[in-house]
């Protein structure tokens, strides 16, 4: 990941839209990276990657060099992403089976993965697979593999839940997906670095570090 030398506060504008969040994540992915984009909002990052950046997409269901979403006659039920959405096959792609696909992931060969989250803790713990509710049906998919596998795990989430409670927390209350695995948290109002011993705010949109500090239960630091 790029190094940020001083916190940037964008106070002349409001929070990021979902699309703008995706663009900020895409901006931070180094050229030539091998990247896995999780199901849901993270998938939208693909549309913001510059073709000349040479970012190569991995999908857990067995493909490296995945192309954009397929439309019309391009749709092939045998060619989908992890979210089961039809995609395309550009030149230079390769297919492999599931054990090989997760070996690639678990073996630390992917540079970046982008995941959604219910909660991230100050020390980079991730909770994104299970609400812990007694009637919830647990379903983990590849989330734990990705959380433990990629060199940098980026989380995209709103900073506050629907009930207003913060999702960046001192310690996760939801069941964990991975321990200390998250590098950065991208939200609509701020970008946090949680890879070190303290939470560092790298950038804000429509709010200040001070204002955020008052709304979160974790100590915030400037870059």
């Amino acid at each position: 990941m790029s190094t940020v030398t001083s916190t940037l506060e964008h106070l002349d504008r409001g929070p990021l839209s979902r699309d703008e969040m995706a663009a900020v994540v895409a901006r931070d992915i180094p050229d030539g990276s091998f990247v896995n984009l999780g199901i849901g909002q993270p998938t939208s990052v693909a549309g913001h990657l510059r073709p000349e950046a040479g970012v190569v997409l991995h999908t857990e269901n067995g493909m490296l060099g995945m192309g954009p979403e397929a439309h019309g006659e391009e749709v092939d039920p045998d060619l989908t992403n992890a979210g089961k959405v039809p995609v395309t096959e550009p030149p230079g792609a390769a297919y492999f089976h599931h054990a090989d696909s997760f070996a690639m992931m678990r073996g630390g060969h992917l540079d970046v993965c982008v995941l959604g989250a219910f909660q991230v803790s100050a020390n980079g713990d991730l909770a994104n697979w299970h609400t812990g509710a007694p009637d919830a049906i647990p379903a983990v998919g590849g989330a734990m593999d990705l959380a433990n596998g990629a060199k940098d795990v980026l989380v995209m989430m709103t900073l506050f839940a629907k009930d207003g409670s913060p999702k960046l927390v001192p310690a996760c209350t939801y069941p964990l997906t991975g321990v200390g695995c998250v590098s950065r948290v991208y939200t609509e109002v701020a970008l946090f670095d949680v890879s070190g011993p303290q939470v560092v705010v790298l950038e804000t949109w429509g709010t200040s570090v001070e204002e955020l500090a008052g709304r979160l239960d974790v100590p915030l630091h400037r870059a």
Binding site: N61, K84, Y95, A99, H130, G141, M144
Partner: protein, 249 residues
């Protein structure tokens, strides 16, 4: 010994029924079912399994059925005691959801890569392995852990099937398989992990028509092949007709 048998019939369903009968599948067995969602899902074989009648099954598959067909129909028919999968909960997994909430089906959730690796271990003669995935989570509770090279790992055991039901694109006349795009997914791993592997294929091509460099599942892992091509039906045994009229797959 494990020379591949080819099953034909006047319909693909008849061929699939014959393959299921020949597989020796019985109630109480563990069945590995290929596919990631519907891509690679061996629907004809799962339908034949429903007609076959075996019950009290443990099913290992990435998902727990979509809509009302395939694996979902097998569940709806009450044939499955337990599902081992990574991602049961989907927008169209209402059959599983209902059974689970009614307490009528057991569930073992396994991280997707660990699910694949446990089957790979079974096929490769590895008894168990130390894996970093899931450490510190509910899914590692009660499992042995060990720090290796400064990183905590959890011990995962081989996951074996009695029968694997998978889908592939093409078989040659001796059972070598190739797949199509991301429909490959769990098929090659499950084929190695089960005592008996049954495959449905889009077509059977003459032996010699598959590039030996591109074979994904070698014939040794393939016991029964069901040809779903429109041309299926009582034909000559492909093993005795090794003409090479098809292009390389």
């Amino acid at each position: 010994m494990s020379r591949t048998q080819f099953h034909t019939g006047t319909t693909a369903a008849e061929a699939a029924d014959a393959a299921l009968a020949a597989s020796g599948i019985t109630s109480g067995m563990t069945v590995l079912v290929g596919g990631f969602g519907m891509a690679g899902m061996p629907v004809a074989l799962v339908d034949a399994l429903i007609r076959h009648g075996a019950d009290d099954l443990t099913v290992v598959s990435n998902n727990a059925g979509n809509g009302d067909t395939g694996l979902a129909a097998l569940l709806a028919a009450g044939r499955v005691r337990k599902v081992v999968c990574s991602f049961p909960r989907q927008h169209d997994s209402w059959v599983f959801d209902g059974l689970y909430r009614a307490g009528r089906i057991e569930l073992e959730v396994v991280p997707q890569g660990t699910l694949a690796e446990r089957m790979r271990a079974a096929g490769a003669g590895i008894g168990a392995f130390f894996c970093p995935t899931g450490v510190g989570t509910l899914l590692a509770e009660g499992k042995e852990t060990r720090t290796i090279d400064g990183r905590e790992h959890v011990l995962e055991t081989a996951l074996r099937g009695d029968v694997a039901l998978i889908g592939a694109h093409r078989s040659d006349g001796v059972g070598n398989l190739v797949y199509r795009k991301t429909a490959r997914n769990f098929g090659p791993v499950m084929a190695t992990a089960a005592a008996v592997t049954v495959v449905q294929v889009d077509e059977v091509v003459p032996t010699g028509a598959l590039d030996p460099e591109a074979v994904v599942t070698p014939r040794i892992y393939v016991d029964h092949v069901v040809d779903l091509s429109p041309a299926t039906g009582p034909t000559t045994d492909p093993t005795t007709d090794p003409t090479t009229e098809e292009p390389q797959a």
